[in-house]
Structure formats: C-alpha cells, structure tokens
C-alpha cells in the first residue's frame, strides 16, 4: 500500500502534522520507534516513570556518543549515553514536557539583523517572520489547549496576539505567585503569568478525551494520566486516528530514506519492525520529525550512507539547545506554616522577561521562570546526596551519606519550602556543536549511531551565569534563605534540542527552505525543532507545534489542496 504522506516521529513535530494532514483527507502513515502505552497507565509512580527506562532505549542497544573537547589532551573525548533520548514513546518527548508555552519575540526571527554576528558563532536570520508564525501560535493555543491570563505589559515584552485572550483561564496558583508579583512591582519588573499547555477545564468539545489537570505537580518528565498536558499523544494523535485516515505503527525504527536515481525525490522509507524484520513504505511525501539529533542521523545515513538533503553539508550542523541555568532558595515552614496547605497548588506560573535582551551583550539575556521543586522524592533525595554536595575530590562530588544525609533530607522535605527559578537563554549556534555519524559505534541493528559534539559558545555560558545572578538576587529580595544555584554545565540541556537542519532561503547555507522542505528533495519535509537557526530565549515545543502546523498547510498546498480552517 502506498500512502499520501509518511510521517516519521510522533512527537510535537510529527503528531501534529499527522493530524493536520489526515484531517485534510490525506492517507497518512505515522511511524514511531518507541512503544505505545495506555494513557490511563501513566500513574504517578516515580519508579516506573522515572527510574526504569520505559521512555528511552537501552544504552547497550542504542547508545549515542557524546563528545566533549579535552583541551589538555587536545582531542574529543567520547562517552556513551542515552540522555538525549528524552521521550521514546508514542507522543515523543512532548509527553514529558512541562508545557511552558511562551512565544518567541519578533526580533528572534531576525537575530542576526537585529544583533549582528559575533566571532565563533553562526547566527542567522529566520526566512520567516513572527507574523508568519503568529496565526499558528494562536491555533496551537486553541487546539492543544493553553491556559493563561493576559496582563498589561510594555510593548517590548507583551506578545503580539491575534486573539485577545487564551482559550481557557489560568490554572490555580501557588501563594508564591502573588509574592513574585509584589516583588516585581517593587523592583520595576513585570511579573507575567506563564501560559501553560495544561487544561484548567474539562471541555470534551474542544479537547476531546482529555480531563482537567489533577494538580499533582508531576508535569515535567512525567507522562500525564488525565491528558491535561498538551502532549502530541493527547492533543493530536487521538484526533488523527479519529479521522480514519491515519495509521500508526509503533516500534518501527526507520533506518533509511531512499531516493530515486536523480536524488531529488524520496521513494521509500525502510524501517525495522518490532519483530526485527525490514519493512518498506512508499509514500508521495515524507515528513521527518525524530528530534534534532535523530533527524540529522537519519538524513546522514540515508541512501546507503551517502545521505539525503545534504548538498549544503549543513545536515547536523548548528545543533542548539538553551543557555540553561537554575537556582533556588528556602522559605522556613515554621515561619510560613500556610505553605503546607499550598501543596495542592503546584503551579507558580510566573516568568520575568525584563532581562530578555541586554544592551551590553549581543544575543544575551533571557527568560526567568519561577517554579516549585519537582515533587519526586527519590530524584530530589539523590540530588541532595550527590549534587548538592559541596565536597569535590578527584574531580568527583563526594556524596553526602549517613546521618548527615538524613539531616539534610529532613531539612529539605520537612523544614523548608523551595522557590526555584530556571533560565532560558540563547544558545549560540557554532561549528563545534553538531551531530555526526559515529565512525565505529553501531546500534543493535548495525546502524551507525549519532555522535553529538557538544560545545557552548563563551557568550552562552557567560550569559547563563548573568541570568542566574539576576534570579538569585530576585529570590533574595523575596526573603529566601540559602539561595544557591545548580552547576552551569555548559552542555546542551537534554530536553531542549533543536537545529541541525536549519531552514533558510539559500540552499548553500541551509538544509530546508522556508516551508521546511528540503532544498534538494521535492517531497521531504522536516517538522521537528531541527529547522531552527536560532532558538531564542524560551522553550521550543510551542514553536515546534506552531511551525509544524504552518508547514502542514504548505504541504497541503504542495499537494494541490487548499487547507481548511481547523477551528
């Protein structure tokens, strides 16, 4: 059987496209390498959801080679890992996101024009503008379900919106939210309610099969039992199946795209099924959305290892993440006993974007996002034991153990509440942060695995530290005690991955055109975060969703159709 469209990868970039095209009447095959689970099985169980590899492959079967440059030995050093697989299941990593749905600012689309180039970075303008994407941000808010609240903000911070408000009210909020509002007011900052891809209401007409959030606080890294979180597996894939036009095959590991003799069209995708058998799929159009690393890997190893869509040599280049950082402070529970009652209100949902750009550092600045610590007790305890340790010996942090650990845990869990901030900043694309095929390492199917060269531009790291300082000062201004920060790794955040197939108008310097269709291949699109030349200062999923729906409309037009208005 031949399909109109074969979509490879079922996360934010793939699941949304599968729905849009199947809802337009096209026969779609959606291939996902991971398993499919019942949503009602996503129980709040840290052992199953966090401590067992249900959502990522085994390292012995499918390693990724992470490379860091050793300046003393003057060579790249290898490490086998699976940390970049952050959602190998139907719905992809969107199932494990926190759902922080912030829009990019208009200037992010023209970062090079607005802020210029700097040495050792490859900043490029996007070939589209905010106005091109805005209708799709709006569409995602309605389709996926984004809760939030509009407040008065200065023009340089406020989002330019085509809808006056969010499709549903904001979620319940924690006591800290109001305290942040007050602190911001006192400092001339602007406290912004954070839009969340979390249902604050149940509405079966608008968000079928999904239920309102149960306010447990188990969002990040957890698949959502009620489907309140706007993961692709909740928001799009059931809708796609309901059209009757979308077939889904899980445990389907695509190993290769094969072109015709001219190299200008994909004629076949080959995959290995759950029984280890090689299968072939023919389709008119192919959409790749395997997340930045695996998308680049697939394109590089396709066509018998010659690669596809890579006449520019840019596939795998300019891998980006976010200049990430975090810090937290303590509030005494004896002095603030009311905080015990706030355990039913896990959402703070406040961001500060007054530091979004910096006049002194080009491409600097970012978003401060305030939140509670994750309620996971095992993970929190291991962090307290291993990472909150201050003693370093032989280059290793010495764990805290014995009675000292018990005292630390008693303090952490029963004597204080923590207010935390996270930083989202620009990750400057550069030549040394990229994806290649590992020269020797193979996966269990004999396929070359991805090799991730990780390198952060000096401005990226310095800016992250600057943002962390802002965050720590803010917590102190609120009266937080023992304010401290997480280590700045200078390595990509494993849940914020983009770039590697940047889009642009010049086929010599980009892989995809402005419709995210490969310059070299007529019927190949990439709809995950790989298209992004720069990542801006917010998380990526919202933008990936919006762009994937924008590209879907381009595909419909390319197939001779006229996209209908979805809502």
């Amino acid at each position: 059987m031949s399909y109109d469209v074969c979509v490879i990868g079922s996360g934010a970039g793939g699941g949304s496209v599968a729905w849009r095209l199947s809802s337009q009447g096209y026969k779609v095959l959606l291939l996902e390498r991971g398993p499919r689970y019942k949503r009602t099985d996503f129980l709040k169980d840290e052992v199953i959801q966090q401590r067992r590899p249900n959502f990522r492959p085994l390292i012995k079967n499918e390693p990724i080679i992470k490379q860091s440059y050793d300046f003393q030995a003057k060579q790249w050093k290898d490490e086998r890992t699976t940390v970049f697989y952050n959602g190998t299941l139907l719905g992809g990593s969107s199932e494990l996101m926190s759902g922080f749905f912030m829009r990019l600012k208009p200037h992010e689309f023209k970062a090079r024009s607005a802020f210029g180039q700097i040495p050792n970075a490859n900043v490029a303008d996007w070939p589209i503008s905010y106005d091109d994407l805005e209708p799709y941000y709006d569409l995602v808010e309605k389709l996926v379900g984004v809760s939030g609240r509009i407040v008065d903000l200065p023009a340089h911070i406020a989002d330019k919106r085509s809808s006056p408000d969010f499709p549903m009210p904001a979620t319940r909020e924690h006591w800290f939210s109001e305290q942040i509002d007050k602190a911001c007011k006192g400092q001339g900052l602007h406290s912004i309610p954070l839009p969340r891809a979390v249902l604050s209401v149940t509405d079966n007409d608008r968000w079928p099969g999904r239920k309102v959030c149960d306010y447990n606080g188990y969002c990040g890294s957890y698949a959502c039992h009620p489907g309140a979180k706007g993961a692709a597996g909740a928001a799009f894939i059931p809708r796609a199946e309901a059209t009757g036009n979308c077939e889904i095959r899980t445990r389907a590991m695509v190993t290769e795209l094969v072109t015709d003799a001219s190299g200008g069209r994909i004629v076949e995708a080959r995959y290995i099924d759950r029984d280890g058998k090689i299968q072939s799929v023919k389709a008119g159009t192919f959409v790749v959305a395997c997340q930045a690393i695996e998308t680049a890997r697939l394109l590089l190893k396709s066509n018998g290892g010659k690669g596809v869509a890579n006449s520019s040599g840019q596939v795998g280049r300019n891998f980006i993440s976010s200049a990430f950082g975090a810090g937290w402070g303590e509030f005494d529970l004896k002095q603030n006993p009311h905080l015990w009652k706030e355990k039913d209100n896990p959402f703070i949902n406040r961001i500060v974007q007054d530091y979004y750009t910096r006049p002194d550092v080009r491409h600097g600045g970012g978003t401060l996002n305030f939140l509670l610590m994750h309620p996971n007790p095992i993970n929190a305890s291991t962090y307290q034991a291993f990472w909150d340790s201050t003693e370093i010996r032989n280059g290793e942090r010495v764990p805290v153990w014995g009675q000292a650990l018990k005292d630390k845990l008693a303090h952490y869990f029963t004597e204080v509440e923590h207010l935390k901030f996270e930083v989202f900043g620009n990750w400057l694309p550069n030549d040394w942060c990229r994806i290649e095929l590992a020269p020797k390492q193979k996966d269990k199917w004999g396929q070359p695995v991805a090799q991730v060269k990780q390198y952060s531009h000096a401005v990226t790291v310095k800016n992250a530290k600057w943002m962390i300082e802002r965050g720590m000062n803010f917590l102190k201004s609120m009266g937080a005690k023992k304010v401290r920060q997480a280590p700045v790794w200078g390595t990509p955040s494993t849940n914020l991955l983009a770039g590697t197939c940047r889009f642009g108008d010049d086929p010599k310097t980009s892989v995809l055109n402005r419709d995210c269709r490969a310059h070299d291949v007529d019927n190949l699109y990439v709809t995950d975060g790989s298209f992004m030349p720069t990542g801006g200062r917010v998380p990526f999923t919202f933008t990936i969703y919006a762009n994937a729906l924008r590209v879907s409309d381009a595909i419909v037009k390319n197939l001779g159709g006229t996209p209908t208005k979805p809502v």
């Binding site: 398993p35 499919r36 689970y37 099985d41 129980l43 709040k44 169980d45 840290e46 052992v47 199953i48 067992r52 590899p53 249900n54 990522r56 085994l58 992470k66 490379q67 860091s68 440059y69 300046f71 060579q75 790249w76 490490e79 086998r80 890992t81 699976t82 050792n120 149960d214 447990n216 188990y218 039992h225 355990k343 309620p375 007790p377 095992i378 305890s381 291991t382 291993f386 370093i392 010996r393 032989n394 280059g395 290793e396 942090r397 010495v398 153990w401 014995g402 650990l405 018990k406 008693a410 869990f413 029963t414 030549d431 020269p439 090799q451 390198y455 000096a458 790291v461 700045v488 790794w489």
Partner: protein, 204 residues
Amino acid sequence: MTDRSEAPPRPSRRTLVKGAVAGAGIATVAGLWFEGFGDPARRRRIEPTPEGTPLRTIPAEDGPRLAAVLDRLMPSGGPKSPGARDVNAIGYFDALFVNDEISDNVQALILWGLDKLKRQAQSAHGTPDLQRLDAAKLDALIKGMENDRDGIRWMRATLEFVIECLFGDPVHGGNPNEIGWKWIRHRPGTPRPLTPGWKLEEQP
C-alpha cells in the same frame, strides 16, 4: 569521519564550574544503571525478599555484611526517621540482584565495593564481617571509599537503591506502610499504582 584534531575555542578557566567534570562520572554511573535493563518483554515483577527470609542471591554470609553497610549509608532511626534496616533494604537489594532489569555492571559495582570493604575490614580489624564492627569503625571504612572515583561511584550506585527503597511506592517492595513518605511528609501523586509489581503494558 571525525577530525579529532579540530579544536574549538578554549573557554576561559572561569567559564565552567568544576562540577562539570563530575558530570561525566554520574553519567557513567547512570549509563551503567541503564545498561542492563531489559526490553519490556523480558521484565518481570520485582519482589523483595521478606525480612527474616533467606536471601536468594546474595550469599548468606554477605547478607548481614551488606545490610550493615546499607544501614550506615542511611542509618535506621525507627518509624519517625527510617533508614535502610527499617525498610528492609537488604531484601530490596536481593530482589534487584535477581531482577533482569538491573544491570550486571551495577550489581558488579555494588559487589566490588562490598568486597573491598570486606578486605579492608579483614586487614584492619581481623574480620570480613562488617556487621561486627562498631559504627565508628564501619563509617571509617566507608569514608575511605571516598578517596577514589570508583569508590564514589560505588557509593552513588548503592545509595541510589537505598533511596529508591526508602521513597519508592510501596508496590515496588520498599517503603513499607509508607514509612519513608511519612518521615518526609511526602504526599504521593494520584492516581497511584495499586498492584504489586505492576508495569507499563505496551499496547499493540
């Protein structure tokens, strides 16, 4: 082919924190952790060995030795401040050792550390029976494990399982009567698993 001589611009010394070096270590341990977990098809339920029941995988003479070490890493203090012995961590470990989800490498690392401690106890105190040492002597031996990277990795791997036993949902065999959660006043999320040994069932 990778050009291994291609060097990026060198960051200033102050750019990155020392902790970044340690990142490789924990990642390695995490890598070991995941190495041996089986495919869902191979998984089977984890049942800890009940207290007072003969251990199934840990040799009889090593059981009390390992139990003593675990209880120094997370000392027992009764219901209001439970530790390894209070949650039958040795039974949990015994089950982990027969569970094909758990890496051979992690098992080897834990046993390597136990063997090293036994040898040191033999050398310093004339007995490999760690449970016979008083707390101060046993703590001193464990403290000695901090002196090299492998020792620290052993400590992390071992402590992680103790913490998992203490704060995991009781359906997995630790945290009896939610004793660990009660200590830290943890409120579990809902819905919770109800069936011992449950697992995520893959759908066709």
